[in-house]
């Protein structure tokens, strides 16, 4: 049995805006095993990124983690002081962002940025950090790394930039990598390269990955376990293979059906009708009911609990009433 590396329990995040309180994350629980890859999938604005930022303690002044716990190796990250949290960020938990070009500082050389965590967390001198950073740049597949070290982000392509970001995130060999849409901004061919890079680096460094994406294809390539998120809650949890073979929640079914497929002949791409509800005024009952094709009377008034189907399958939908309630 693998050990849990990080365990998120009942996490709730609120953003306070002029229009009202945004309940971006509303009681999310999931685990990431030591060395495992967990996907967090959902549409834009369903709270995926807010979950990641909350784990990292980077919500900023407008956001607040209002309840829940994030146990990382037995310690609740939400209770750590800013200083303790800073020592974990970049060393034990790292993050890769969506846009490599805006996540790299335009006026500092790429190498300098990749080497920075080494200086901060391991106290390496400039020369040592440089050597190590060049090694790491080579490892993520940047050709001619020694001369690329002194170049600036605008001299890098998007794919190379993302490789450099990954090098920066992994240079202190963290135990958990949070990848927030790491392939979304890239070309499809580059996406595949980045995915296989993450895959091989994970094996070598034996780190766990929390992959945040809206792309089921990426999840299928990389993840062991997937959490499907909708409007701030997780609606389905299971093994990647199980979820793909037999999606249970109507939302997951809709998502999988709306993926374009080459094999089947389709005239029109199927879509899920309607739009993601406003997180300020959530619909009563089940959050998905206005868009659900299996909607019943009950869905309008009562929010479904989580039903457990078997050891590794959870779903939040009244259709599965009668199964074990969690």
């Amino acid at each position: 049995m693998m050990q849990k590396l990080i365990s998120v329990e009942g996490l709730a995040v609120r953003f306070f805006t002029r229009k009202g309180t945004v309940r971006a994350v509303d009681g999310v629980s999931f685990d990431v095993d030591d060395g495992g890859i967990v996907g967090l999938v959902g549409e834009s604005g369903c709270g995926k990124s807010a979950t990641a930022l909350s784990i990292m303690g980077l919500l900023g002044p407008a956001g607040e983690t209002t309840s829940g716990s994030v146990r990382f190796k037995g310690e609740d990250l939400l209770r750590l002081s800013p200083k303790e949290m800073r020592q974990i960020r970049g060393k034990e938990i790292s993050m890769v962002f969506q846009e490599p070009m805006s996540a790299l500082n335009p006026v500092r050389s790429v190498g300098e940025q990749v080497a920075e965590p080494l200086k901060i967390h391991l106290g390496l001198s400039g020369g040592e950090a440089r050597l190590r950073a060049i090694e790491m740049l080579e490892e993520v597949g940047i050709p001619d790394a020694a001369s690329r070290y002194d170049q600036y982000p605008h001299q890098f392509s998007g794919g190379m930039g993302q490789r450099a970001m990954i090098a920066m995130a992994l240079i202190c060999e963290p135990e958990l990598l949070i990848a927030d849409e790491p392939t979304t901004a890239l070309d499809v061919t580059i996406q595949a390269q980045i995915i296989s890079l993450l895959h091989s680096l994970r094996e070598r460094l034996h780190m766990a990955v929390l992959l945040i994406t809206h792309d089921f294809g990426v999840v299928a390539e990389l993840c062991d376990v997937v959490n499907v998120m909708y409007a701030g809650v997780i609606v389905e949890w299971g093994n990647v293979v199980d979820v793909f073979d037999d999606p249970l929640h109507p939302y997951t079914r809709g998502l999988l059906r709306s993926m374009p497929r080459a094999k089947r002949r389709q005239r029109k791409l199927e879509v899920i009708g309607g739009a993601v509800p406003s997180l300020i005024e959530l619909p009563q009952g089940c959050r998905f009911h206005p868009r659900c094709e299996y909607v019943t009377k009950r869905c309008f008034s009562e929010e479904p609990p989580i039903f457990q189907l078997n050891d590794d399958r959870l779903v939040r939908c009244w259709l599965f009433e009668g199964r074990m309630k969690l």
Binding site: L58, L104, I120
Partner: protein, 297 residues
């Protein structure tokens, strides 16, 4: 992947891509002929100022009452002043003072302004409010009047001019830097730096501040002539450099009584001020244009 950048891009274009941010700026700057003229003028004045003792033919302080207010001639190329001192030597010596008065307070005020601006913009909240209100007060005051008040309090003299002008100048730099920091701090690379565990102070100094440098360089070149003129005004009003120091402002001030009888006594130092201020303005405008693509970003 590896070959993508190597084979597909033509050689010349690739060199352009590979040139760094500053190299590109410099090459754009060189295409601007006005700015280059400005740069040559400044360089010439700077060389003259540095090697002044080797260049001038007369002691700038040597009084010769028999040769008062001479017209420009072979012996005194720019004539002599009311005490028979050689104007050319005095102007050359004055270039040292004027350049120092332009450069040193600019450096100091850019330094203070950057520190205040980055802190204020990045931390926000009360710190921002207090620092910016102080800056507002400084900016709201007529700057020459404020400098005069400081000069009266501290007493005349060159080092006090530095202090007075720095005190007047920092607020504008702080404003410019702060406004940039407000947008910079929302950039993803700041978040990425935080996610790597970088300290707040290091984020301000190493991640945010370097992004403000292009606009600071431009502001610097525009501040230099402003301070040269301010010193001239202060000296003209009698609270700046004190005689017999040949600051350009003081030369104009002392020559004003002879403006009709011996106009060259005023015209040459006045022209020098005009020329240097104009040159710095050309360079500043050229730099701003050359850096524009980065400033727009």
């Amino acid at each position: 992947m590896a070959g993508k950048g190597r084979n597909c891009v033509p050689c010349a274009l690739r060199q352009k891509i590979h040139a760094g941010l500053w190299q590109e700026t410099i090459s754009r700057f060189r295409e601007n002929s006005m700015a280059m003229v400005g740069l040559y003028v400044i360089a010439a004045v700077a060389i003259v100022a540095i090697f002044a003792p080797l260049i001038f033919f007369h002691d700038p302080y040597e009084i010769n009452l028999r040769q008062r207010l001479l017209l420009p001639s072979g012996a005194h190329i720019l004539g002599t002043d009311a005490f028979g001192r050689d104007m050319l030597s005095r102007i050359i010596y004055g270039a040292r003072i004027s350049l120092l008065v332009g450069l040193i307070p600019s450096f100091i005020s850019m330094g203070i302004g950057s520190a205040v601006g980055v802190t204020s913009g990045y931390l926000g909240g009360k710190v921002d409010f207090i620092l910016m209100r102080v800056a507002d007060i400084v900016i709201a005051f007529p700057s020459l009047l404020l400098a005069m008040v400081i000069m009266y309090t501290l007493g005349a003299g060159l080092s006090n001019i530095f202090i007075a002008l720095s005190f007047v100048g920092w607020a504008e730099a702080a404003r410019v830097v702060r406004s940039q920091v407000l947008s910079l701090r929302e950039q993803e690379f700041v978040e990425a730096a935080k996610a790597m565990g970088v300290r707040r102070r290091a984020i301000m100094a190493r991640h945010i501040f370097p992004n403000c440098l292009p606009s600071l360089v431009v502001l610097f070149t525009l501040k230099v002539p402003e301070f040269i003129l301010a010193e001239a005004s202060l000296s003209f009003l009698g609270v700046g450099a004190q005689p017999p120091v040949p600051s350009w402002g003081l030369l104009v001030s002392q020559g004003k009584e002879f403006i009709f009888s011996a106009p060259w006594v005023v015209a040459f130092p006045g022209g020098a001020i005009f020329l240097v201020a104009l040159a710095f303005n050309f360079v500043g405008d050229g730099l701003r244009e050359a850096l524009d693509p980065y400033l727009k970003r």
